[in-house]
């Protein structure tokens, strides 16, 4: 089991609170990769990354057929945030059984706390020509992180977290 560092937990939050814009990388079962930027991000326990399911299309379809994902910091990169987290994801959508468990993360707990993310952490810092007019959240993607490697120049590929 991996354990996030303090710096990782600080980075894996919404940008308006000192966190980061992240890229969520998925793939379908045939190896067609997909990369999409995400704002609503948080950590849960010591080894879970949470991402709001808002406007997810291919990402959602990919996770439904293949749980293997990678999460990396898109912006800012200049604060030592050179990590790629790899693990298995599920999209905990409304309607999931209340006792659904993903590597120790409970669906009721997750949806109660993070199910109305736009209200809890509104995208005040997002520029007006980018921000969405209305948020519709369908669930929360929970990534169970199993390892992380560095993408810092000169150290690329080095393990920074191992399960």
């Amino acid at each position: 089991m991996v354990k996030f560092t303090k710096e990782m937990k600080e980075a894996l939050r919404v940008p308006g609170k000192g966190g980061s814009l992240i890229y969520l990388c998925t793939s379908n079962r045939d190896g067609n990769p997909n990369i999409a930027a995400m704002r609503f991000v948080a950590t849960h326990m010591d080894d879970k990354i949470l991402i709001a399911d808002m406007f997810l299309l291919k990402t959602k379809a990919n996770i439904k057929e293949n749980p293997e994902v990678a999460v990396t910091i898109c912006h800012p990169l200049d604060e030592g945030r050179w990590w790629v987290f790899r693990g298995k994801a599920v999209d905990m959508e409304y309607g999931f059984p209340r006792d659904f468990d993903w590597y120790g993360a409970n669906a009721t707990d997750i949806l109660n706390e993070w199910g109305n993310w736009n209200k809890a952490e509104p995208p005040d810092e997002v520029p007006p020509d980018i921000v969405f007019p209305k948020a519709v959240q369908r669930g929360v993607v929970v990534v169970h992180v199993e390892e992380a490697y560095s993408i810092e120049p000169g150290h690329v590929g080095e393990k920074v977290l191992e399960g």
């Binding site: 814009l21 890229y23 990388c25 998925t26 793939s27 379908n28 079962r29 045939d30 190896g31 067609n32 990769p33 997909n34 990369i35 999409a36 930027a37 704002r39 808002m54 406007f55 299309l57 291919k58 990919n62 293949n66 293997e68 994902v69 990678a70 990396t72 898109c74 912006h75 800012p76 990169l77 790629v84 790899r86 997002v126 520029p127 020509d129 980018i130 921000v131 969405f132 007019p133 209305k134 490697y149 993408i151 120049p153 000169g154 150290h155 690329v156 590929g157």
Partner: protein, 159 residues
């Protein structure tokens, strides 16, 4: 389909670099940074990769050439696009020589390989009703007009 990168897209790609995503044939994704990027044609982008960066993606790429990338840093939000295509790792030849020399001069990167991505798909990733809209297949003029209706900002090159 045909991808016709706009001048603004090229500017964001080249100024910020990109996050490059590949996957094994079974669907296990890997990511590295393409810190130096050069649009070598309207449907082609080359990335200079250091040896260690190349080693992370080479095993997957050797079995599955598909590549997806998004613009790094502020480009993740200001350049709301996903680019997809097929990638080839070059270790010699004129493209390698040119891009590797530019990457060394501009960013001090000792390129072990150049990843040349031939683009086949382009998507809008702006959150909201346009998320996922496919933009490849549009003529250069139509795509340019589509983008100009939304954004005009062009970044300064990142050191």
């Amino acid at each position: 389909m045909t991808v016709n990168l706009t001048d603004r897209m090229k500017a964001w790609i080249e100024a910020m670099g990109c996050h490059l995503c590949v996957a094994t044939p079974e669907g296990v994704p890997f990511v590295v940074l393409g810190r130096y990027a050069k649009a070598t044609a309207n449907d082609e982008v080359a990335f200079a990769l250091a040896e260690d960066e190349m080693k992370v993606i080479a095993p997957a790429l050797s079995e599955n050439p598909r590549v997806a990338f998004g613009v790094s840093r502020q480009g993740g939000i200001r350049a709301a696009y996903q680019f997809k295509g097929t990638g080839e790792l070059l270790r010699s030849g004129s493209v390698f020589d040119t891009v590797a020399a530019q990457a060394k001069e501009e960013k001090g990167i000792d390129a072990g390989a150049v990843l040349l991505v031939r683009l086949t798909e382009l998507y809008c990733t702006k959150p909201g009703y346009e998320a996922g809209q496919r933009l490849d297949g549009m003529s250069p003029e139509d795509l340019d007009a589509w983008e100009r209706q939304r954004w005009k900002d062009v970044p300064r090159k990142k050191d």
